[in-house]
């Protein structure tokens, strides 16, 4: 997926460049360091997940990129601009754990909302919204109201809305966290496709290790108190399909991420992969798969 980023040609600047960012919250009893010395660069079209235990500051980092929070120190650039400039120019789209749609608007006019906010004319708005609903597979629901849709469908509308301004960057804060496992896997496959088709870079916050591994080009593992980047793990799984979820390398990467979350590094992913391959061969039924998922 990182290769498709080159085809946009829109900008050669990194999608996100974070240098030495720290964030300290002042609370009643002194100060809490939420983030410390964060350096991270996201290439155009790259899919990066932030993963870590609660309180590691991954959502805080995402909100700093979105200019919803300002860092205590350090700099953030989005597509070569300051975070604030990028927000005002609508260079990124944002989705939250809750879809956050406006119940009094139809699905289509919800998707149109960002365009409406920025003075795009009615006909263009409508055409773009329908195009996006086609992209997320909800064309037939354009006239419905959000409460009539399931959680997964609402989240897809929110993604369509985030894509309305053709952003070069999507910021997603646990967008699938409230969905059931089946819907969640379907949404992940959808997102992979959408990211490929729009060639937008994605910064994705999640609690789920397999989700991070399945979606990402790189998984950023964070540790709490203070929030730091513990390790950045590259994921080399090629084009994602449903078979990817059964691939030994998928499990090897999951294990690497899990070990990193526990504060241990596995130097050689290849050796791990060989181990897992042997396991799968020995026990080819799906119990192994389930156990691996259940353990997460």
């Amino acid at each position: 997926m990182s290769t498709t980023g080159a085809t946009t040609g829109a900008t050669t600047a990194p999608a996100v460049e974070i240098r030495g960012v720290s964030k300290t919250f002042t609370v009643r009893r002194g100060a809490v360091v939420a983030l410390e010395a964060i350096d991270l660069t996201v290439a155009p079209g790259e899919f990066v997940s932030l993963i870590g235990p609660s309180g590691c500051g991954k959502s805080t980092l995402l909100r700093i990129i979105a200019d919803l929070l300002t860092p205590t120190s350090g700099t953030v650039e989005v597509g070569g601009k300051t975070a604030q400039r990028a927000r005002l120019d609508q260079d990124y789209g944002f989705t939250f754990q809750q879809a956050g749609l406006l119940d009094w608007r139809t699905v289509r006019t919800n998707v149109e909302l960002p365009l409406e906010l920025h003075g795009v004319d009615r006909a263009t708005r409508k055409a773009r919204a329908l195009e996006l609903l086609e992209l997320v597979g909800l064309f037939d629901f354009a006239g419905h109201r959000p409460p009539q849709l399931s959680g997964g469908m609402q989240q897809r509308v929110a993604i369509a809305r985030a894509l309305a301004e053709r952003p070069t960057l999507l910021l997603m804060d646990e967008p699938f966290g409230a969905l059931d496992e089946m819907t969640r896997e379907r949404m992940q496959a959808e997102l992979v496709r959408i990211a490929r088709e729009t060639s937008a870079a994605v910064v994705f916050v999640t609690h789920s290790i397999p989700e991070a591994v399945f979606l990402s080009d790189r998984v950023v593992v964070m540790s709490p108190r203070p929030g730091r980047i513990a390790e950045i793990i590259p994921v080399d799984l090629g084009d994602r399909t449903e078979d990817t979820r059964e691939a030994p390398h998928f499990y090897a990467t999951i294990t690497r991420v899990r070990e990193a979350l526990r504060g241990r590094t596995v130097p050689d992913a290849g050796a791990l992969e060989a181990d897992i391959r042997a396991d799968v061969a020995a026990d080819s039924n799906t119990a192994d798969t389930n156990a691996a998922r259940g353990a997460l």
Binding site: L68, R87, Y92, F94, F96, L102, W104, L113, P114, L117
Partner: protein, 300 residues
């Protein structure tokens, strides 16, 4: 069954309940009048239930008859009226007009205050206690003040009219529920929505128009209903305390003064005032219909 029809059925059922409630009330009134002691019920010298004589509790039928009785009072001078019913309707319409002006002023002031309090936390801290305090000032005390301020002043070329004082006092009651309800309503937008609007680089005005006002609508309609009832009550009280003639408040006093032997007329006028208040609230409830279509959406 469509949602719209379900909604219609619910309203019919509600209207039916109102009728049943009125019948029960009438039944209780007549039953107590028939079987209650003529001197009323007193406990340790304190009357806890009224006397049941015709002077205290007329039969509902005689209240009904009073409506068609010819008007004898000379005080009711708006238009050529022939019966008590005409007088009551005529007076109600005058009161309604003044109340409507007071309602509109009150709603506008209430909305502006709510917007200010939503925009500036300082304003909310500074204003809200006074908004609440304003309602503890007795209207009777306020009436002469407003009248005096109004006297001799003018709005442009328009000379201050006595009814304007009444409308101002009605507005003084009506603004309160709107201000308090809308402050809550404007704050009812969720953090996710507010964050999203900020991410979308929406300014204060757009956020207000496209997010805060729509999400405050469920708070607005009950506020308006209260404001409508308050405007009517305020008008009636203000009529009496400023001595303005022609409205239902004044008519109640006039009939009460005439009612040495027959209180039916007073009750007729009071009934008229009650219906007026209900009618005002009902008209505002029609806004609920539009709101329902807006927030929940008709089946497309």
């Amino acid at each position: 069954m469509t949602a719209a029809r379900r909604w219609g059925v619910r309203w019919l059922a509600r209207a039916g309940l109102v009728v049943v409630g009125l019948l029960v009330l009438a039944g209780v009134w007549e039953a107590y009048k028939s079987f209650g002691p003529a001197a009323g019920v007193t406990v340790l010298g304190a009357t806890i239930l009224p006397r049941t004589t015709d002077a205290a509790m007329p039969h509902l039928s005689s209240v009904g008859r009073a409506f068609s009785a010819p008007e004898v009072g000379g005080a009711i001078t708006f238009g050529p009226t022939t019966s008590v019913l005409d007088s009551v309707v005529d007076a109600c319409l005058h009161t309604l007009r003044w109340a409507a002006v007071g309602f509109v002023i009150g709603v506008v002031v209430g909305l502006l205050l709510a917007l200010l309090m939503d925009r500036l936390v300082v304003a909310e801290r500074a204003l809200l206690p006074y908004v609440v305090l304003s309602q503890t000032v007795p209207l009777i005390a306020l009436a002469p003040l407003v009248t005096r301020w109004g006297q001799g002043s003018s709005i442009g070329s328009l000379q201050w009219q006595p009814w304007m004082s009444v409308a101002v006092i009605a507005a003084y009651l009506a603004f309160f529920p709107v201000a308090v309800g809308m402050v809550r309503g404007l704050k009812s937008a969720t953090a996710v929505h507010l964050d999203w609007f900020r991410c979308s680089a929406a300014g204060w005005w757009r956020t207000l128009l496209l997010l805060k006002l729509p999400s405050s609508l469920p708070y607005l309609v009950p506020s308006l209903r209260l404001a409508a009832a308050a405007a009517v009550v305020g008008t009636i009280v203000a009529e009496i305390s400023t001595g303005l003639e022609g409205g239902i408040g004044r008519l109640i006093i006039t009939y009460a003064q005439q009612a040495t032997g027959d209180p039916s007329r007073t009750y007729a006028a009071v009934l008229g005032a009650a219906v007026l208040g209900l009618a005002a609230a009902a008209v505002v409830s029609l806004a609920d219909v539009a709101l329902w279509r807006y927030t929940r959406g008709g089946e497309a």
